[in-house]
């Protein structure tokens, strides 16, 4: 097994860095700012058709009649396809990407429904026409008759024996369990057992860019698909669904206008491929906002119950955690989201006696899949609210309770995975709390609450996926640098980080580096922009490729200057003698010498994550992830006692990112992730009633605006112990995880009772306030080392 041993780089002993660690202007920023960056919906082709998708208006039905003859007969309509035209076209919805080892979760979904529909919005037919208007007209001509079938809209109901069948034999999509230690023994040792149940809703990704793409068949009979995606390796999924060789599909990814996990699933590309192949013409498909909502995955609703045994001193002796997740109508990535939630269920705490039982069941609801955090945020809402409940029951400072139970480097997680990098949980939490400053006093109409959460979140994919990434780095004859890497840039600075790493290692200014990215045919495959993995995986690949070239350059420069190789450094497009920079050779000249002598000036590197063979299915014990990022958030809120409105007054987040390759980008990830988590806690509710989406657009599904919350104060710590380049850890997903539980804890602090279901709407606050009038509220106590408020 490929064990990773991170090399600690304590502060003060870092190698001198010139580009890495500086908040340089991202290479993609100005092009976007002047409006020059082309997104998927911005491309057109000669002779192009426009596509539309017919979707089911109801969640559960048998298709009695789907007659497209009138639509086909309409002038200007080039093609109409239904499930009957592609009876075997199924989409493998799990294991996207390049994964070498196959462990299927049996999650194929029909490309177009043939027999029954299982959710509101399920695709039924495709149209390609000369214009968008004509395509819409053709959709209206399709005659659809559906016989409604009984539906099931709750995962608990779905698992009852008489429940309508959605998918599979018993609607169960996945189960995981952890059996660690001796639960009964651990519970017997406890002075107190605390039990609580917490619920979380559907959440919509709501990226600003709706799904879009253009496809055409080229002169080699290759289907080219220009699409906004997090996974260029879906060329394989498309080829498989079409029954054609994998080298006949090419994904040309564009800059992505936000993904957050939902563009990890196949979206428009399969429809485009079918229509382009059928018509022999370029075809464009752009979702409306409403279609984007109906067609895309949501974050899983979870019900999580914690039963925790604790000693009076706060030490957790045992925990039994159960989780029920709504998988929606098709599995997609549910088995793995559930695995993440299961593996992180107990939080970053040492629990020797642990049972976790988790299950996800299919319903006639929107399908659920990846969303920033991938089950981690739901798990955190469970364990961090439970920690505060335990603290309340013990009358203990929640910070002290956490401190008594934190994992340390060398300890093992709930699945028995040893943590090898730095664990700066306490540091992160105390810094976040300190950043809140003085506590705002209560007023007669407003009650102030403070809350915090400290969380862990993996970066890198599940290690039994055997994840790999490749990057090519080359130096041109004028000393400029080119990177070719199949990394999808979804806005988090994925390409910029790679450029900054190459610039550092090859000693050139950032503006002398150009990256070509995201093309499955011409850029070496780098895997998915998911799982907080690109900086870690492709960053290491770029680092390796660039280092190989650097070695070649340094050796040749040493020879030229008559010094040893280790006396040469590269910076400012020069190779120079470290102790005497007046001795130098311009990089462009050095490159010309190398080229003339046939020395290699480019290199293709592959980085492999640690490979494991899976966890024990009976005990859930084994390694799941490469490493973890640890962080914390603290917030202060005010509850209006008259209206139930919650105002976020202060928010601070602190994460150990290992090494900030670009601190401005890191701060952006943390601030933005925090905001999404704050929205999750306070506003966002994708309402589905009897399977029908009731929040079909950004007018009903409200995400935070610039006026809703103050900015989160961001504190970046760098332990240098990550397994990414320069000791970096990942931050994309970890940034979101602690925000929502911190808010939930703050609201419970203000009210004296807990609202056990998100979002924390004014209606729920008012109901909770009513409860406090009938039930004596929990005694309010000193928080986080502070004096108890009067």
């Amino acid at each position: 097994m490929n064990r990773v041993t991170p090399k600690p780089l304590p502060e003060g002993e870092l190698p001198p860095l010139r580009q890495v660690g500086r908040p340089l202007r991202r290479v993609d920023a100005l092009g976007k700012a002047i409006g020059a960056t082309a997104y998927a919906a911005d491309f057109t082709m000669p002779n192009m058709l426009h596509a539309k998708v017919l979707r089911s208006p109801i969640p559960s039905a048998r298709i009695r009649r789907l007659d497209v003859s009138k639509a086909r007969a309409l002038p200007g309509v080039a093609c109409v396809l239904t499930g009957a035209d592609l009876p075997d076209a199924k989409l493998a919805t799990d294991m996207p990407g390049q994964t070498g080892r196959s462990q299927r979760a049996g999650s194929d979904a029909p490309v177009l429904a043939t027999d029954v529909v299982r959710f509101h919005g399920e695709p039924l037919a495709l149209v390609a026409a000369e214009s968008v208007t004509l395509a819409e007209r053709a959709l209206a001509k399709i005659e659809l008759e559906l016989d409604p079938l009984p539906g099931v809209f709750d995962p608990h109901e779905a698992m009852k024996p008489d429940a309508p069948h959605v998918y599979g034999e018993d609607n169960v999509i996945a189960r995981w369990q952890i059996r660690k230690g001796d639960l009964e023994k651990g519970m017997a040792e406890a002075d107190l057992v605390v039990e609580n149940t917490f619920r979380m809703p559907f959440v919509e990704h709501a990226y600003l860019e709706p799904e879009a793409g253009v496809a055409w068949v080229d002169e080699q009979d290759v289907i080219n698909i220009r699409v906004c995606t997090q996974v260029v390796e879906h060329f394989r999924s498309v080829a498989k669904a079409l029954g054609i060789p994998q080298n006949r599909v090419r994904i040309r990814g564009t800059m992505v206008g936000g993904g957050f996990g939902s563009k990890e699933d196949v979206t428009v590309e399969i429809f485009l491929a079918l229509l382009a192949r059928e018509t022999g013409r370029p075809v464009k498909l752009v979702y409306t906002r409403e279609e984007s909502f109906l067609a895309s995955a949501k974050r899983h609703p979870f019900t999580i119950t914690h039963r925790t045994g604790v000693k009076k001193n706060g030490r957790i002796t045992a925990a039994h955690i159960t989780m029920v997740a709504d998988a929606g109508a098709y599995p997609y990535l549910t088995p793995y989201v559930l695995l993440y939630a299961t593996g992180m269920a107990a939080g970053p705490y040492k629990v020797d006696h642990l049972h976790v039982d988790s299950v996800a069941a299919a319903t006639h609801q929107p399908f659920t899949s990846a969303f920033r955090g991938f089950g981690g945020p739901q798990a955190a809402l469970g364990y961090e609210q439970q920690m505060d409940e335990i603290a309340g029951a013990l009358g203990m400072d929640p910070l002290m309770l956490r401190r008594a139970n934190y994992l340390r480097t060398g300890d093992t997680t709930g699945t028995g995975q040893e943590i090898r990098s730095a664990v700066w949980l306490e540091e992160c939490l105390t810094r976040a709390i300190a950043a809140l400053g003085e506590r705002t006093p209560d007023s007669p109409t407003r009650r102030i609450g403070r809350g915090c959460a400290s969380t862990f979140q993996s970066y890198g994919r599940i290690t039994w996926f055997h994840d790999t990434s490749r990057a090519w780095v080359g130096v041109e004859q004028d000393g400029t640098v080119v990177i070719r890497c199949g990394v999808p840039d979804i806005g988090a600075g994925q390409s910029n980080s790679l450029c900054q790493i190459a610039a550092e290692i090859l000693g050139v200014p950032l503006e002398r580096v150009t990256i070509y990215a995201t093309d499955s045919a011409v850029t070496p495959l780098a895997g998915t922009s998911t799982a907080t993995r690109q900086l870690y995986m492709s960053g290491n690949a770029v680092s390796s490729a660039a280092s190989t070239i650097r070695t070649c350059l340094a050796r040749r420069a040493a020879e030229e200057m008559g010094v040893r190789e280790d006396e040469v450094d590269l910076a400012n497009s020069r190779a120079f003698v470290t102790n005497d920079p007046s001795q130098f050779i311009e990089l462009a000249n050095l490159v010309k010498k190398c080229a003339a002598e046939g020395l290699p000036l480019s290199h293709l590197a592959q980085f492999n994550a640690p490979f494991t063979e899976g966890i024990d299915p009976e005990t859930g014990q084994g390694d799941i992830w490469p490493d973890f990022t640890f962080g914390a958030q603290a917030v202060e809120i005010a509850v209006d006692l008259g209206t139930g409105q919650i105002e976020l007054l202060k928010s601070a987040a602190c994460h150990d990112v290992g090494r900030a390759i670009n601190p401005a980008a890191v701060r952006g990830q943390i601030a933005g992730g925090s905001h999404q988590g704050l929205g999750y806690a306070l506003m966002e509710d994708y309402v589905v009633k009897e399977g029908i989406t009731e929040t079909p657009s950004l007018g009903e599904y409200l995400i935070p605006t610039s006026s809703d919350f103050p900015a989160t104060e961001v504190i970046v710590l760098e332990s240098g112990t990550g397994i990414g380049p320069f000791g970096a850890k990942g931050i994309g997903e970890p940034a979101l995880t602690p925000a929502a539980p911190a808010v939930a804890n703050a609201v419970a602090d203000a009210l004296g009772v807990r609202i056990r279901e998100l979002p924390l709407t004014p209606e729920r606050v008012l109901r909770a306030l009513d409860r406090t009038r009938s039930v004596a509220p929990r005694v309010r106590r000193g928080m986080y080392g502070e004096k108890a408020p009067d």
């Binding site: 700012a33 911005d42 936000g258 752009v286 601030a671």
Partner: protein
């Protein structure tokens, strides 16, 4: 209904096009190649399609193209180029206010509308002015910082005209 010919003066270039009455200004501009005008919702919820219409900031999805017949339209790409970016565009790039970039053109025009009428806005005024433009990536903090930096840079320079002579203060600015 019958189509008719309209003239749209976009970023200083006149375009004569024949359009049906139900075509929005957003659709017409994108059809003409002004793809920096982004389509995020088509009903005024997100602000990604913002443009200046005769000096007033509008969501182009809520304006019919016929209503813009003969009008001067300014989009983000009319403000600057890679070689000569507008100070607001440059400030957005410099502060980390640009992540996925899809909201950025609309944000930059909303910023310009604000700074044209209020060269030294408070944080509350900035947040209010941008509240019609959704961003899902940044949490808005770095965008607020970009607006502040823009204001500072614009106050320091006497540059009131962009590279193509299009960047004149908006009508809102003149009236405000």
């Amino acid at each position: 209904m019958k189509e008719k010919s309209v003239v749209l003066n976009v970023n200083g270039r006149p375009h004569e096009i024949v359009l049906a009455p139900n075509v929005t200004l957003l659709q017409a501009l994108r059809e003409l190649g002004y793809t920096d005008v982004k389509n995020g919702c088509e009903k005024g919820d997100c602000g990604a399609c913002a443009v200046f219409l005769d000096g007033t900031l509008v969501n182009s999805c809520l304006v019919l193209a016929w209503q813009a017949d003969g009008a001067r339209i300014l989009t983000d790409s009319g403000l600057g180029t890679l070689e000569h970016p507008h100070p607001i565009q440059e400030a957005f790039a410099d502060t980390g206010a640009v992540q996925c970039g899809f909201c950025t053109p609309g944000m930059i025009l909303a910023t310009k509308a604000l700074l044209d009428r209020n060269p030294d806005p408070t944080e509350a005024e900035i947040r209010e002015a941008l509240s019609g433009n959704l961003c899902r990536c940044t949490g808005y903090g770095q965008i607020v910082a970009a607006v502040r930096l823009s204001a500072e840079r614009l106050r320091k320079s006497d540059r009131t005209r962009g590279p193509r002579g299009l960047d004149q203060p908006s009508e809102e600015g003149k009236n405000g």
